[in-house]
């Protein structure tokens, strides 16, 4: 049984419940252990993990991602409000530098989360991204995001 998973689930229960009677505390612990046991059973089929080791590195990555989201959200808003609607939709195919599934998922999700770019296909070794403008499409391969996610997944 993954103790970290039980602890995280129990914390989640406590935050959502906000009531600390003995019955609810015990029920929460029971539920956390039960869910962790079910997750462990399912790990035989899929490989679901609880990437606790990435927590600290992710804490450094997220503020940067939020900044990027704000920047490109502002750019997309300007494009929307521009009377000429200066869009140049393009598809870009490129090779991400991540090796692990988790790293690829983080990279693909980050691209989609950033306004103006959407990951259409995410295969190992190749991403297909739809971008609102040609400039956004051009900045995808070997981007700073790519480097940062690779550093993030490489965290031991």
């Amino acid at each position: 049984m993954r103790l970290s998973l039980v602890a995280a689930l129990y914390l989640f229960w406590l935050v959502l419940s906000g009531m600390f009677t003995p019955f609810l505390l015990a029920a929460g612990l029971g539920a956390a252990v039960g869910v962790a046991a079910l997750a462990r059973r399912m790990e035989a089929a899929g490989q679901d993990r609880h990437p606790l080791h990435l927590t600290l590195a992710a804490a450094a990555y997220w503020p940067w991602l939020v900044k990027e989201i704000a920047k490109s959200g502002w750019q997309v808003s300007r494009v929307i409000l521009d009377p000429r609607l200066p869009i140049s939709p393009s598809l870009a195919r490129f090779r991400p530098s991540q090796t692990s599934t988790l790293g690829l998922v983080i990279h693909a999700n980050s691209i989609t989360l950033t306004p103006g770019t959407v990951t259409v296909e995410a295969d190992r070794g190749e991403f297909l991204v739809h971008a609102l403008t040609r400039e956004a499409a051009a900045g995808l391969a070997h981007s700073e995001m790519d480097r940062r996610v690779t550093r993030l997944e490489g965290t031991p």
Partner: protein
């Protein structure tokens, strides 16, 4: 609640509402499915994010604030996944993107 936190909260809420409107205008103005998705992206990142941040200021240091942050996390994990699923389904069904132009950025393609 202090007036300062109240002011910050209202600024965030107004900015969030403004970006929601911009995203809505974008949904109408954009010419095709894929470009509309980019406009919707403004709503569920900047719009939702700023409104949630404003609500956190309203909640102050309480359990409600933590719950709002959890909702924010949920949106930030699920919305790109849903957007990606939509885009992939559309392309898989053969919906051609407008003015599609493949730009090969990778040095070699398998």
């Amino acid at each position: 609640m202090s007036a300062l936190a109240d002011a910050a909260s209202w600024i965030l809420l107004s900015a969030g509402g403004l970006f929601c409107i911009v995203g809505g205008v974008g949904l109408i103005r954009m010419p095709d499915f894929y470009t509309r998705m980019h406009a919707a992206g403004v709503i569920d990142t900047l719009g939702a994010g700023l409104i949630l941040a404003g609500l956190v200021f309203q909640a102050g240091f309480s359990l409600a604030a933590v719950k709002l942050l959890v909702i924010g996390l949920l949106i930030f994990f699920t919305s790109p996944t849903a957007t990606h699923a939509l885009a992939q389904a559309a392309l898989g069904r053969g919906l051609e993107p407008l003015a599609a132009k493949e730009e090969e950025n990778a040095p070699s393609k398998c």
